[in-house]
Amino acid sequence: MSMQTIGRPTRPETNAVAAAAPEGAKGLLQYEPLIFELGGWSKTGVDLPDVAADVADDLGDLVRTAPIGLPGLSEPETLRHYVRLSQKNHAIDLALYPLGSCTMKHNPRLNEKLARLPGFIDIHPLQPQSSVQGAIELMDRLSHWLTTLTGMPAVALPPKAGAHGELCGLLAIRAAHEARGDARKRVLVPTSAHGTNPATAAFAGYTVEEIAQTTDGRVDLADLEAKLGPDVAAIMVTNPNTCGLFERDVVEIARLTHAAGAYFYCDGANFNAIVGKVRPGDLGVDAMHINLHKTFSTPHGGGGPGAGPVVLSAALAPFAPEPWIVHDQNGYRLIEGREGVAAQAFGRLSAFHGQMGMFVRAYAYMLSHGADGLRQVAEDAVLNANYIKARLGDLMSPAFPDGPCMHEALFDDAWLEGTGVTTLDFAKAMIDAGFHPMTMYFPLVVHGAMLIEPTETESKAELDRFCDTLRVLALDALSAKDDPAALERFKAAPVAAPLRRLDETQAARKPRLKWTQPAAPAPLAAE
């Protein structure tokens, strides 16, 4: 065809075959090599003033002489590299991201802006406290919000993530027992717990024993009572739990625990379901971490940074780690060692004062929502999860069909029986349909678990789009019983993602954990 087509609507030639890009680029998606295959040893994207070549002569043989092996890129190349990489990621800003127990909610950009104010981002943790009064006051106000929302008397801000918060709580518990000369050995953890709970208990020097679960997805009180004893230091119970259910017997759990002289550690990963509705302090909890990156929406950032402040009961508060925040007529002060009111602090959890950058974001989030908005957050999170459960419950099998769920809807794989389609296959097929899969195979107590947490920041339209999509997929999965082609589609998925399924077995068998220079040809262009 020779017609001039400039400026006209285009239309694919019927017999045209798309020419495959040599390196697999398609549409807007670019193939992108590693920086080690792109950059040059002498190239740099940072202009620095010249410096005398002999300036480090005083260091003699302390100076490294061999090449380090770090390629550099100019600024335009750098932008392209990372923008191309970014386009291979799913993100909350793109579509619903229903990872159960991860709470992938909207991250307000106001919070990003405020965390970058020079008065927050450009202050040193060890500059004179008189020069950072606003920062310490922010930490104090954040503490006030956290203690008020949880109904607990004290909070330790230092922990840097949820698991670090668990460690903080257990170390406070350990210190409290030791202060009474009552060293205890065991920590009880339900079978449905997140892996960090038993790992933390072991890290804190305890042996871990599991508590059974009832058929309705809660802690088995009889088993708890049987296992409690004079050597139990604490129980660690997630509430709402990892099945997305509220522990109805939580007050009784606390009573039994306290009667045995143990403390009740609550994993607060799912506090977003009850914030503003129920206060853990009214339930008998002694310590609970709060993932600021979940309930209070600090960005997940591809795997952190998080922040895990721990609220503490009056019995545990004296053992909170340093630094402590105090306020008197002279202003705000951080107590950085075991002195004064902090004489019984169990020690230090990290070098400085915690995740200040996350405190600013979380505080801005709290102020934006206010006491009324935070209550609405919990209600909408729970409403959205129950809506999903209601809309999918007839096709897929809810793990606990009776009664409402909290902020996440849990399905098992019973509905897939006989289809040949597994939870993994179904999750990968969701990718082809434009959604991030739910959390798979967790909690471990539910077979083939699919844990869907929509969060409160999804609109009804997006929830409907999600449910409509999953219904189509579910029907397709059910048809695989007698349709080999349907089964094949699930086994092959994803086909529309930047990559197909990855060989994780090979990755673990022969780990390649960094780029190494191939023998030949040399990967770096001559400059």
Partner: protein, 450 residues
């Protein structure tokens, strides 16, 4: 409520689909006695403008490092971060994604983690690095726990040059695991005294270079002594830029290298979030804490990346895991790797040289002040300085004149009897003029006091 998309109509419709009379019907499992009847006693929701005003008011009551002469270091350093770094880390696909549990739609994160691991391994001179820890201090503590596991021994020798907060963080973790920490006396050349403390029970020796006093040490002989005793050598670096100039931990025989990566790509942030670097020799890989990203292929044979060796981790191994860590410092490691890609080897070396040149200028300036003694002999960009007065008092007095002169060592280690020692750092952000005014200001202060 600008962050909540549901309308009252939506909510009513959805309750209808669920078959619930009202929202309280969904909270029926919570104890009735504990249900709050209305909002807790805190302010109600506010608009962007009001929130911005409140936080700007708090920020205004802090004195930013960039507002004038600034010489604080001691584990956190002010460096210039290129504008493109902050732009990239705010892209939705990086900022609002999570741990790459579904590798097919997380290759962006996985590839930068693989690049990050490669850069950290190169920088530290080690075989393998993980995908980051919370910060340098927790990385140090985890390294000691790992060494105790590997050697099945229960004593850790900590150099007196180790940042006291790193020592304290390590003690917190080690103590409950039954690992004894022996912290040696702090002094400028503390690393020199470490070998004598190694014995047959020693799991590891922890040294820092440049140490908390800024002193740079070749720890090769310590590595040899540790290895001869069957112990591991852990080398700590709190100023990552120094690795662009100085011999790497790997070159000197480290078995585990840990570092604070904040200096590359990340702001001071009043102490966090930062990014811990953690690198080991090949044979120790399966004892490492934290996430590891590895290369593999997809179903069509194309190169791709996944999280791997997860049987070390809490979500598989539970109470037998190598660590309880889950979320780490993803976005901070992205900032690190972008800044490092911009710098490249050439830029990093030059940056390190400039830092050293600034510190030499600082040393020369301080040595002109009567009564002031620079204690650190071999330094990178930080000096321990003895003042003829209490260092805390000096810092407060100078702060009143708009100068943040450094960190009194006694703030980190109150019982060391070094109340007159001030830690002072200079970086590429330190202006020559800010250094040049110091002798006059210090002299005036000391004279006014006398």
């Amino acid at each position: 409520m600008r962050y909540l998309p549901l309308t009252p109509d939506d909510r009513a419709q959805m309750l209808g689909v669920i078959g619930a009379a009202d929202i309280d019907a969904l909270f029926v499992d919570t104890p009735a006695s504990a249900r709050l009847k209305g909002p807790v006693d805190l302010p109600l929701h506010q608009g962007e403008l009001e929130v911005e005003l409140e936080l700007a008011g708090l920020a205004a009551r802090n004195r930013p490092a960039g507002a004038g002469p600034f010489f604080c270091g001691a584990g956190a350093y002010r460096h210039h971060v290129p504008a493109s770094v902050d732009h990239i880390i705010q892209r939705s696909e990086f900022l609002t994604s999570y741990t790459p549990y579904q590798p097919e739609i997380a290759q962006g994160t996985l590839q930068y983690l693989f690049e990050f691991q490669t850069q950290v391994a190169a920088l530290t001179g080690m075989d393998v690095a993980n995908a980051s820890m919370y910060d340098g201090s927790t990385a140090c503590a985890e390294a000691v726990m790992m060494a105790a596991r590997v050697t099945r021994r229960t004593k850790a020798v900590l150099s007196g040059g180790l940042h006291p907060h790193y020592a304290a963080t390590t003690h917190t973790l080690a103590h409950v695991a039954g690992v004894q920490t022996l912290r040696l006396t702090p002094r400028i050349d503390a690393e020199a005294g470490v070998i004598a403390a190694i014995d047959a029970d020693t799991a590891c020796v922890v040294v820092q270079t440049p140490n908390v006093f800024g002193q740079v040490t070749d720890v090769t002989a310590i590595a040899q002594a540790a290895h001869a005793a069957g112990a591991l050598l852990i080398v700590v670096t709190t100023e990552a830029v120094s690795l662009g100039l100085l011999k790497s931990p790997g070159e000197m025989g480290a078995d585990i290298a840990v570092a604070e990566g904040q200096s590359i790509g990340n702001g001071l942030n009043f102490g966090g979030p930062y990014v811990g670097l953690f690198a080991v020799r090949e044979k120790l890989v399966r004892q490492m804490p934290g996430r590891l990203c590895g290369e593999t292929v997809d179903a069509e044979g194309r190169r791709g990346f996944v999280l791997t060796l997860s049987t070390r981790e809490q979500h598989i191994r539970r109470d037998k895991a190598t660590s309880n860590i889950c979320t780490n410092s993803g976005l901070c490691s992205l900032a690190f790797t972008i800044h490092m890609s911009l710098l490249g080897e050439a830029g990093l070396r030059k940056l390190a040289l400039i830092n050293h040149a600034k510190a030499k200028r600082l040393k020369a300036a301080l040595e002109t002040v009567p009564g002031v003694e620079v204690l650190t002999q071999r330094f990178f960009n930080e000096l321990a300085v003895r003042l003829p007065m209490d260092a805390t008092e000096a810092v407060e007095r100078l702060a009143a004149h708009g100068i943040l002169a450094g960190v009194p060592y006694s703030r980190l280690d109150p019982d060391a009897g070094m109340n007159d020692v001030l830690l002072m750092a200079a970086t590429e952000t330190t202006q020559d003029g800010e250094i040049d005014i110091l002798p006059r200001v210090l002299t005036q202060m000391l004279e006014a006091r006398a």
